[in-house]
Amino acid sequence: MTMLETRGLNKHFGGLQVTDDVNLVLARGELHCLIGPNGAGKSTFFRLILGEYPPSSGQILFDGADITRLPSHERVRRGMSVKFQVPGVFQALSVQQNLEIALQHHLEGASLAAEIDRLLGFLDLVADRAQRAGNLSHGQKQWLEIGMAVSLKPSLLLLDEPTAGMSIEETHATGEMIKALNAEGMTILAVEHDMEFVRQVAQRVTVLHLGRIFAQGDIDAITADERVAAIYLGQGHAHA
């Protein structure tokens, strides 16, 4: 069963080819990591999937339906959710209100309040519920945003560097959280730089390079691949 599929996906800005004929298939229930050096086209690829950019050519299929021309909010309504690299929380609003805005689509009244309480507990933010989201620590903001993204109960969760700026402990805890979500059946696609994190969570890894799929496989195969080491991990790590 395929959750997400891109077919011959291309994006160019003027003469610059940023996404080059990407064919990616994501199975339902998979936890997939997308890695690659800076400028590999990871963020653009994410934006294409999210509908923030229209592709120059190619197709995006989500849950069997062609969503290539669908606006972003429609994709979200169909079960896609995202956590951005820079924490995308509503800074001036309280933590509780951030969650309320995420949840008020499908919940109201007592069930809304109960779900907010449950998420605050899950995110370890109970004491900060009345706090402005802008006053949270960086790691807490990342968690809050993950909470907002997850609260939509998406079938596909997209994570853009979910552990950027986190401490080692926070990174590990985030990895465990993501594995738990995946175990509940959520399909997850994460862009990540931190190879420790990738090793902790990923089932399958795709390496993007110069906008193209450069390599694909499980994490051991990828780290053992000397071509990948050459472009991404650095030669010194290839034999580590």
């Binding site: 999210l50 923030e52 606006p71 972003s72 909010h73 979200v76 309504r77 959710s81 995202v82 951005f84 995308g88 929380v89 509503f90 800074q91 001036a92 609003l93 309280s94 509780q96 209100q97 309320e100 805005i101 995420a102 008020q104 689509h105 109201e108 009244g109 007592a110 809304l112 309040a113 402005r132 006053n135 945003e145 907002m148 993204a149 939509l152």
Partner: protein, 347 residues
């Protein structure tokens, strides 16, 4: 917060300052004082006070659009003008009898809302935001002013209503309530004062409910982070359009009340000065809250009126200085800063 339903519950919430017994006691006292005010003042002063109140609707509308929605618009004056002229054209053509001025008022406000929705469609579906939204809305206002200013010739009329160029349109009947025996003509006098005060209380409370509803939640979310709001599944263009049209309707209400109050409207009501004043009122009060906007608008208009005794040029310069001072010293608004000093409870 959103756990309990009910519209009245939404009178308080995260998007509005003021909650609890003491706030509402203060509110009740303020309304009671406003109700008693005509007993202590002469008719001229009461009439002048109505003039102050007339503008507050437009300011509250801008507060919704700018303070809550994050969209700085100079277009409120355009909608004010459309509605004012609309009211004049209808009433001059059909007369004040049979409650027609009230229908004209509704039609004029609806016209302002529709025009706002039309501009909003191009703005928001065209993904125009930030400073460009300000520029486009200011342009619309100025184009309308220029257009109306050149309608002096007799060929510019709608039915029997002459547009009259820069001299403006005058002589339309004021709002008139049909009444058995004798209609109640709402000239700038005590009955009009109570009608406008009633509308003001309704507008304020209605907007409090709106901004604390789930609609208001999404509106402030868009202000804070439009990308995140979109990626929570909201079609933000619809929310922006709705806020813009509702805010525009309030500007339209100001336009009708102003035109009915003075029985005239001129193109300069859509000029550069007119377009910038609401921004000053709302910014000085504190754009992110309805109460600070309301209080700030009344204070600033009152001060402006007092200063015009010494010449309107000086008053305008003072407004400019006030705006600069606000931006530098209290970007959230002077009334807002004062409110925070008093309560020290909210972030």
């Amino acid at each position: 917060m959103g756990a309990r339903g009910g519209m009245l519950h939404r009178l308080e919430g995260p998007q509005t300052l003021g909650r609890g017994r003491w706030f509402w006691l203060g509110f009740a006292i303020a309304v009671a004082l406003a109700c008693a005010y005509p007993l202590f003042e002469d008719d001229y002063t009461v009439g002048n006070t109505i003039y102050f109140f007339n503008w507050v609707f437009m300011a509250l509308g801008l507060c919704l659009i700018w303070g809550y929605g994050g969209m700085l618009s100079f277009g409120q004056t355009a909608l004010f003008g459309i509605s004012g002229y609309g009211y004049g054209i209808f009433v001059l053509n059909f007369g004040p009898d049979h409650g027609f001025t009230l229908i004209a008022a509704l039609v004029a406000v609806a016209a302002a809302a529709l025009f706002a929705a039309a501009i909003g469609y191009f703005l928001f579906w065209g993904r125009i935001g930030g400073v460009f939204l300000g520029i486009v809305t200011l342009s619309v206002t100025l184009v309308l002013e220029r257009f109306m200013a050149q309608t002096a010739g007799p060929e510019w009329h709608v039915g029997t209503a002459r547009l009259n160029g820069f001299n403006g349109m005058s002589g339309m009947a004021p709002l008139t309530i049909p009444w058995p025996g004798d209609d109640i003509v709402l000239s700038p006098d005590v009955p009009l004062y109570y009608v406008v005060l009633g509308l003001l209380v309704l507008a304020y409370l209605g907007l409090r409910i709106l901004v604390n509803s789930s609609f208001g939640n999404v509106l402030v979310a868009i202000r804070e982070n439009p990308q995140r709001a979109t990626m929570l599944g909201y079609d933000i263009r619809r929310y922006q359009l709705a806020a813009f049209a509702i805010g525009g309707a309030f500007a339209g209400l100001s336009g009708v009340l102003y035109t009915s109050w003075g029985q005239y409207i001129t193109p300069s009501s859509m000029g550069l000065t007119a377009a910038s004043l609401p921004v000053v009122w709302v910014a000085v009060g504190g754009r992110s809250d309805l109460t600070t906007t309301l209080v700030g608008t009344l204070l600033v208009i009152g001060a402006f009126q007092a200063l015009t005794v010494y010449g309107s040029q000086y008053a305008l310069v003072a407004m400019g200085v006030l705006l600069v001072l606000t931006v530098l010293a209290a970007p959230q608004g002077l009334v807002m800063a004062a409110a925070r000093l008093v309560t020290r409870r909210r972030p």
